[in-house]
């Protein structure tokens, strides 16, 4: 039996879900994120048998993980948590990595203490839907002062059209613990619609240090992703977060980092690459609730095809959070005349004695740089490829995770070569 706090929370969330209409998000000017093509009624949660060994996991996942050594791995396929493994040495130190369903039964006090501390079903229809309807899920607990070297990996996989996946990850990294956490959202190129409605919450207690990466690659199918991801950074704790958006038909995500106690520090280095008719709508908040905190947010994107990407980044410094230093910058590179990008940095400061600055650019490939490279014998197409890879490199090299770095580089290269003719024609036309 699931604990009563969960039952109660699900019931309340379901009421909100049923009450709220399917939302449309309006942005400045030309921008609207709409779900009018999503046939929500035709989607259903799909259940699968658990798999006994890593080798039995679907290929799209094994390719992404490339047989790398992990500290732990938990995989959700459709609605079912199908695989979980944790290094026994870590289990012995008290590390927990299970489905959230299982954690609610085995560690109810721990789960109840943190569950949806920073998330609310009242945030919207899909936040409520996820809170009411999630199955499987993932739960990570790293006890005080435990240091984990190898990455802890969670995976949400959709591999059949017609799937709706309500996902919920809860992570707690206790006092002075250290770890790397990676969450991948993956699908092969589906023929048909699917929806991933996700919630991710991670709490860093005093002095904890976490390197967090999110990789989204839903393939070329019609996968919708509506998610909220939120990270709370405790006293003197540090979180470096790298969200990577490398594929998804329509994505609407809210990504928030909260420095909640004095001395806490956050870095966010985000990257996106949209192609075809993909639509990406990101809203990030760098929220400082207490003083003496620091933040640094850098987002870089590139667009091909007729894709659209809107990035809105808010720095919010609450009343009394003095001596906060934070920076936010966002850059988008258009590689096609039909692509459209928005970069909207904004600032709400309710206190004095802080330093906060932000900037946003939307640009194209710099023809002067292309000329320079061509004078060294490098053909135009290759020059453009090198420039785009170089543009992303400062973000990619911050991953500090070689396997993931290589995965991202390969993906960027593949996307560029897929769009090679189109990019070439565009740049030749401007030259």
């Amino acid at each position: 039996m699931p604990p009563s706090f969960l039952e109660e929370s699900r019931r309340a969330a379901l009421e909100v879900y049923e009450r709220e209409p399917v939302p449309t998000w309006r942005r400045s000017g030309f921008w609207t994120t709409t779900l009018r093509h999503l046939r929500l009624d035709e989607l259903e949660p799909r259940r699968y048998e658990a798999v006994a060994s890593y080798e039995d996991l679907p290929a799209v996942l094994r390719t992404a993980l490339a047989g790398e050594e992990l500290g732990g791995l938990i995989v959700q396929r459709g609605a079912t948590s199908v695989y979980s493994w944790l290094d026994p040495a870590l289990a012995e130190q008290g590390v927990v990595l299970t489905s959230l369903e299982q954690a609610a039964e085995e560690h109810p006090e721990l789960v109840e203490r943190w569950y949806m501390k920073r998330l609310s079903a009242e945030e919207g229809k899909f936040s409520a839907g996820t809170a009411a309807l999630w199955t499987g899920g993932a739960f990570l607990y790293v006890p005080p002062e435990v240091r984990i070297e190898k990455p802890i990996q969670t995976v949400y996989l959709i591999d059949e059209p017609g799937t709706v996946q309500y996902a919920h990850t809860l992570g707690v990294v206790a006092r002075f613990a250290e770890c790397r956490v990676r969450e991948y959202c993956l699908a092969p190129d589906l023929e048909g619609q699917a929806l991933h409605a996700g919630a991710f919450e991670l709490y860093l207690e005093e002095g904890a240090q976490v390197a967090l990466a999110h990789l989204q690659d839903w393939g070329k199918g019609e996968v919708y992703d509506i998610s909220t991801k939120r990270v709370e950074v405790g006293r003197d704790a540090h979180c470096s977060w790298v969200p990577l958006h490398l594929g998804g038909h329509l994505t609407k995500q809210t990504l928030d980092l909260i420095t909640a106690e004095r001395g806490s520090d956050m870095r966010q280095n985000g990257l996106y690459f949209t192609e075809g008719d993909e639509h990406l709508d990101l809203f990030t908040t760098d929220q400082h609730e207490k003083g003496d905190t620091t933040g640094d947010t850098v987002w870089k994107g590139a667009l091909t095809g007729s894709s659209r990407a809107s990035y809105e980044g808010l720095i919010r410094i609450d009343y009394g959070a003095q001596n906060t230093h934070t920076y936010l910058q966002t850059h988008s590179m258009l590689l096609s005349p039909k692509a459209k990008a928005d970069a909207i940095p904004s600032l709400i400061v309710e206190t004095d004695n802080v330093s906060a600055s932000h900037g946003g650019t939307v640009g194209e490939v710099d023809e002067e740089l292309v000329f320079y490279m061509m004078t060294r014998g490098i053909p135009r197409t290759e020059a453009v490829r090198i420039l785009v890879e170089g543009y992303f490199e400062p973000v990619v090299s911050k991953l500090g995770d070689e396997a993931l770095e290589e995965l991202v580089r390969a993906k960027v290269t593949a996307k560029l070569s897929a769009a090679e003719r189109e990019v070439e024609a565009y740049i030749a036309e401007r030259a």
Partner: protein
């Protein structure tokens, strides 16, 4: 074997900058092209390399008899031309070593073996007294003026062009940097390479002694001679030549 510029007329944004330039640089020769600011020197350098912002309205650029007037910059480079820029571009996120490997291999049928490339790079960096740590830095990002110019000469050394154009490579260099860059250029001189050294001042020509000197004024070459012409210029200045030319025209 040579670069030939024939009756070259060039416009930039509807303004005619070059008004009929003839110039020929053969392998084994070093030419200096001198002139005051705005005389058209950099326009000539950019046009030789095929910068799309410069429109050739008349005349030709030939390399070894092959007409390159309409060729793309990368074709010119692979044919054996090189331009060391006055203001080199910064390529963010691309290390010096990676950039050089891509450029060197672009001009070859078979890519150079990694070890051979490494050896070649080390040799050339030693020649130009460049710190090995340079390799890993992003090309020209945060480089000082002197480092940028040395990076240009390093690229030239790696690409081994038949004809290299050095556009104001001496500008912004202190005397030590100028000497290092000049020594680098001198080390590359020989029967298989020709140079066109473009400069406003005579300073670099004390280190890189030219075989021929051409003086450009107002989009035309108005005086030609041996290295003594540079000494003449040093003594009398551009105004003297301008007056002479105007007197001749009148």
């Amino acid at each position: 074997m040579s670069l030939e510029i024939q009756n070259l007329h060039v416009r930039v944004e509807d303004k005619e900058i070059l008004k009929g330039v003839d110039l020929s640089v053969s392998k084994g020769e070093t030419h200096a092209l001198m002139g005051p600011n705005g005389s058209g020197k950099s326009t000539l350098a950019n046009t030789i390399m095929g910068n799309p912002n410069y429109v050739v309205t008349e005349g030709k650029v030939l390399l070894n008899g092959e007409d390159l007037t309409e060729a793309a910059p990368d074709e010119r480079a692979r044919a054996g031309l090189f331009l060391a820029f006055q203001y080199p571009a910064t390529i963010p996120g691309v290390s010096v070593a990676n950039f050089l490997r891509t450029a060197v291999n672009a001009g070859r049928d078979e890519p150079l073996r990694v070890m051979d490339f490494g050896k070649l790079l080390r040799q050339n960096m030693e020649l130009l007294k460049i710190d090995p740590a340079f390799n890993k830095r992003y090309l020209n990002e945060g480089f000082s003026g002197g480092e940028k110019k040395r990076a240009e000469i390093l690229q030239m050394a790696m690409l081994e062009p038949e004809i290299a154009v050095l556009d104001e490579t001496d500008s912004g260099l202190d005397i030590d940097a100028l000497r290092i860059v000049s020594e680098g250029v001198n080390a590359l001189r020989g029967p298989n390479a020709g140079f066109l050294v473009i400069t406003h001042y005579t300073r670099i020509l004390r280190y890189v002694l030219p075989d021929f000197v051409h003086i450009m004024l107002n989009g035309r070459i108005v005086r030609e001679g041996g290295s003594e012409l540079a000494d003449d210029l040093e003594e009398k200045g551009y105004d003297f030549i301008r007056e002479e030319v105007e007197a001749g025209a009148a």
